[in-house]
């Protein structure tokens, strides 16, 4: 039995405080849903837990079984048992998933002899086609394939706790079911603890949570059971905010913060071609549309 314990977490980007005193405690085998509107700080939470350096933690603590993770670099947090399925999985051309997984297993001192057959079994369960195992990880994958591959890595790495940041976005019904079932099985078979971050209640019809938390403007404003998700479905974030007397739902977007996302690349051939025959996934598309 393990415990992931987040308490009084404050984090900033530049001058803006995004996490404003957030606490949650997750035990092995539990599924916690954190639901919040766009801009409430959900992804910031997931990256802060994983130690992304764009975010500065100003106070609070994140512990796994009493061991403090804040201050540890990202890769050590992973080896301590955290896994983050990212909202926007990153494309890494030329690095196939098997190379990535075998490097991460080796760094944990885990045997990789039967890795190929384990990958094949998991790929079968998640209906991932071979092609996506051979190409660079996420490289020009559709939104759905990316999320399946995130789940595949989760299954192979067997962490103690998984943070799923909008694992449901960009998924069609079949993919949503495959992914949810695989995660649910891990909670039962390996006692995986899950933090399922989502905007929409539809994930929770597949991946049934034990606890539901509502996040607004950087803190958890309500916690309860699955009935809280039902209330959100019925009256929306505005309605729940009104009931709770919460005025601020999301963190105002800082104009200056946009710069941080601009990586100043010059136009490349691949980009030019991609734009021309644009089948590229829009990461900002409404998953329900």
């Amino acid at each position: 039995m393990s415990v992931l314990s987040v308490s009084g977490l404050h984090a900033t980007v530049g001058d803006t405080e995004i996490l404003r005193g957030l606490s949650v405690e997750v035990r092995s085998g539990e599924v916690h849903a954190i639901m919040g509107p766009n801009g409430s700080g959900k992804s910031t939470l997931s990256h802060t837990l994983m130690g992304r350096t764009d975010y500065t933690v100003t106070s609070g603590s994140v512990q796994v079984d009493g061991e403090e993770l804040l201050g540890l670099p990202t890769f050590e947090r992973a080896t301590k048992g955290l896994f983050l399925a990212m909202q926007y999985p990153v494309e890494v051309p030329g690095v196939p998933m098997a190379a990535l997984i075998s490097a991460s297993l080796r760094s944990r001192g885990v045997d990789t002899v039967d890795l190929d057959s384990r990958i094949a079994t998991e790929a079968d369960r998640l209906h991932v086609r071979d092609e996506f195992l051979l190409r660079g990880v996420n490289d020009e994958f559709s939104g759905g394939e990316k999320k399946r591959i995130e789940t595949l890595q989760l299954a192979l790495l067997r962490p103690k706790f998984a943070i799923l940041d909008e694992i449901d976005s960009g998924l069609d019904v079949d993919a949503l079911r495959d992914v949810s079932r695989r995660v649910e099985a891990m909670t039962k078979e390996q006692n995986l603890g899950v933090v399922a971050i989502t905007h929409y209640a539809r994930l929770l019809t597949e991946l049934r949570p034990d606890h539901v938390h509502v996040m607004m403007a950087g803190r958890i404003v309500a916690s309860g059971g699955p009935e809280l998700a039902d209330e959100l479905e019925a009256s929306g974030y505005e309605g729940v905010a009104a009931r709770l007397g919460v005025a601020e739902l999301a963190i105002e977007k800082q104009e200056s913060s946009k710069v941080a996302f601009d990586r100043g690349k010059t136009e490349s051939l691949a980009d030019v071609l991609k734009a021309a025959g644009s089948k590229a996934d829009d990461p900002f598309a409404d998953p329900l549309a």
């Binding site: 994983m50 992304r52 670099p73 990202t74 890769f75 992973a78 080896t79 896994f83 983050l84 990212m86 999985p89 990153v90 494309e91 890494v92 051309p93 030329g94 690095v95 190379a99 990535l100 997984i101 490097a103 991460s104 760094s107 944990r108 660079g136 890595q153 790495l157 990586r263 100043g264 690349k265 010059t266 136009e267 490349s268 051939l269 691949a270 980009d271 030019v272 071609l273």
Partner: protein, 434 residues
């Protein structure tokens, strides 16, 4: 810039060989007086270190040092030839002179030639082809090569012959304060097929290599060509590789450049026959204070031609790289397609990469695209790998190898891929231990 007196007509003549070759050298050396030496004010030398090259201090490798033209004393091609695997022929070239050659006798019976330019039987035929590609718009270093090439490597594939295994050329260049002038001529006859793997290397000596490679791909022939440059850190390498493609000819050329202090490659493809296809790819990796310098040309002179170029490089420490590429589509080259991509990873703060793509399009019904990127490793990619429990060092190694992966996948022969990838990894790891 000027050359020392040791670059004399007497020395050029003294290098021996058949009379046509001696005459050719003497002619070229005679024109050296009136030559214009390059400066970095010229576009084609912009960003280069040409001004740092003190030509005066070098002397050409002399006839005495080279020994007799037919003295083939080298035992074999060493580790490179072993790694290259099974081959249909091999040439070992020391300071521009062939010192060992071998060839599959069955292929020799079919007319394949793998031999020294100065000692080959079909010498007169060669005389007509030699320089037919490189001497068009010759620059100072091409003329210098013409004047002091002792001989060089010749591969000539008769029409219709398919050479089953690669032909390997191994160059060794040495001699402190000496300059050597390797010249390679590959002629792939009509409808023939051949793969050539060429490697340049030198020890840690202050040596100048002025190398010329001519690739003649006749109608409907297919040539796959790889050059690997692994010189010692104080070697200057100034290389011209120029290909001439006939009708429906296919060239897949690759360069892997890892060594040298200043190492420059001009890689040019002239698509001169309808339907010709040229591919040029490269991997380069500069460390310490190296400069790796590439100038490419995709020159379309006939309709329905297609060229594709992908050059990828990385620099670390205080190394610099230059990529300057030109796509030229001449008036007659309608319905042609040309693509050019150059990508650079700058791994440390002191390192730098220049990337200059150019287009010159005189035909109106063509497809062209070019792109270039210069930048550090993507933070998101690092973070993604690290979030899986991979250390920052291992993450960098994976990302860099992944970055080069598509080029390594397109090398004309896969036999060398692993050891070349290993050399890239060694460079990354070596930095960490400094």
């Amino acid at each position: 810039m000027s050359i020392s007196k040791s670059f004399s007509t007497d020395v050029a003549r003294g290098l021996g060989g058949p009379s046509w070759l001696v005459d050719r050298r003497v002619r070229a050396s005679g024109s050296l007086d009136s030559i214009t030496w390059p400066t970095s004010a010229e576009e084609i030398w912009r960003y280069s270190r040409i001004e740092d090259l003190d030509l005066e201090k070098y002397r050409p490798v002399s006839a005495e040092r080279l020994g007799a033209a037919d003295n083939e004393s080298a035992p074999g091609g060493g580790p490179f030839a072993r790694e290259a695997g099974e081959h249909s022929g091999m040439l070992v070239v020391h300071d521009g002179r062939v010192v060992h050659h071998e060839i599959d006798p069955d292929l020799e019976a079919k007319g394949l030639r793998v031999c020294g330019l100065a000692t080959c039987d079909d010498s007169d035929e060669i005389a007509n082809v030699l320089g037919s590609v490189s001497s068009v718009s010759a620059d100072a270093f091409t003329v210098l090569n013409d004047a002091f090439m002792p001989g060089g490597a010749l591969i000539s594939v008769p029409g219709g012959v398919v050479v089953p295994h690669p032909i390997v050329i191994v160059h060794w260049c040495d001699g402190d304060l000496e300059a050597s002038f390797p010249h390679t001529l590959v002629v792939a006859g009509e409808s023939s097929e051949v793969t050539v793997l060429e490697r340049f290397s030198s020890p840690n000596t202050d040596h100048l290599v002025d190398a010329v490679v001519e690739l003649v791909v006749r109608d409907n022939a297919s040539l796959r060509y790889l050059s690997v440059q692994e010189h010692g850190p104080r070697t200057w390498h100034i290389g011209l590789q120029r290909a001439h493609l006939g009708r429906d000819a296919r060239l897949a050329s690759a360069a892997v450049a890892l060594g040298g202090g200043y190492a420059r490659l001009r890689s040019e493809s002239l698509l001169d026959g309808t339907g010709a296809m040229s591919e040029q790819v490269a991997v380069y990796f500069g460390d310490s204070d190296q400069m790796l310098d590439f100038r490419t040309l995709q020159d379309h002179a006939a309709p329905h031609t297609r060229s594709e170029l992908l050059f990828k490089g990385a620099v670390e420490d205080t190394a610099k790289s230059v990529y300057s590429g030109m796509i030229r589509i001449r008036e007659d080259a309608q319905k042609s397609q040309a693509y050019q991509t150059n990508r650079n990873l700058v791994l440390t703060d002191g390192a730098g990469a220049e990337s200059i793509p150019n287009l010159e399009i005189l035909a109106n019904d063509v497809k062209c695209a070019h792109g270039s990127t210069v930048g550090p490793i993507d933070d998101d990619q690092r973070y993604y790998l690290e979030s899986r429990g991979i250390s920052p060092e291992e993450a960098e190694r994976l990302i860099v190898l992944g970055f080069f992966d598509d080029v390594f996948g397109r090398l004309p022969s896969s036999s060398l891929t692993n050891s070349l990838q290993r050399s890239v990894v060694d460079k990354i790891e070596h930095r960490r231990t400094r």
